[in-house]
């Protein structure tokens, strides 16, 4: 039996609690890092993390990139999407193909 967790600022993640997910409200990168590590080693299969924090914890998240579990997925916070999530997909494409041929890279 696996669990799903959400890490992010309080206002953004509160709602996820209502649908039955485990929530770790924080805005500090250090705290988020500790929680992420604990959850990733534990029984969490999916960890959603708000984009702002995801950028700060990129190194930590990259560690789990090639392992099967957990899936660490950036989601937008309440201020709307910053493009980090889509950037991740773009990066995957770049890694696989050598160049971004799908999303018309604006870089």
């Amino acid at each position: 039996m696996y669990k799903i967790g959400v890490i992010g600022d309080r206002d953004s993640v509160l709602g996820f609690k209502a649908v039955g997910l485990d929530v770790f409200p924080t805005e500090k990168a250090e705290e988020a890092k500790a929680a992420l590590r604990k959850w990733a080693e534990g029984e969490y299969a999916i960890i959603y993390i708000t984009e702002g924090l995801a950028v700060q914890l990129e190194k930590e998240i990259d560690k789990y990139k090639d392992s099967r579990l957990p899936a660490i997925i950036p989601i937008p916070n309440k201020d709307g999407p910053s493009g980090t999530g889509l950037n991740n997909v773009r990066k995957s494409v770049e890694r696989a193909v050598g160049a971004d041929i799908l999303f018309g890279g604006d870089r």
Partner: protein
Amino acid sequence: MERMNVNPTRMMLTSLKKRLKTAVRGHKLLKDKRDELMKEFLDLARENGRLREDVEKRLGNVYKNFTVASSIMSQEVMEESLMFPKQGVELQVSSRNIMSVDVPVFDFRTTAEDPADIFPYGFARTSGELDNAISELSDIFPMLLDLAAKEKETALLAAELEKTRRRVNALEYVMIPRLQVTIKYIQMKLDENERGNQTRLMKVKDMMLEEAIAEKKAKDEAAIERMVESCQ
């Protein structure tokens, strides 16, 4: 392409030829794998991008409702209302194999007794926006899970694709040319040895012939001399 540092012997030639054969076959197989992976991956990545945009848009809606709700209600009431969720989520993870890449498949089950009644609070003290936000969040939850699965799949496939691509290139541009060059080198060296041997043999044969002729001549001359002597 630089050749390998090997002894130019017939045995080495045989083993190198075998290796070249294996390398060519491996290259072909890996190339097929790469092409198939690429096909899968591009479809998946395209879908992933679309799904992400969709989820982001709908999450934006949820957040909007939450913001409105939290501005109407006090923070305490809000937190109190959401403190004890009625709905739980049980997640099952199984595996799927795409071109020998193990990707997780998420299967979830909600544990609410009544799927229509997911609100963990009474309606008296909370605003309608909160209801909207939670019901929409509950609606897009399967999409969120789908996104998680797709995104992980994309990342894993990308890693595998990168590896395969590197292998194909290494075989195509390093291993195979190097083996070919080395095989050619050994073959030329062996041929050269062969020719050297041939000329040496011919030379020896010439020398032996000359010797034999000289011996014969000497014998003949001796015989003639003996004949002349006996006639006198």
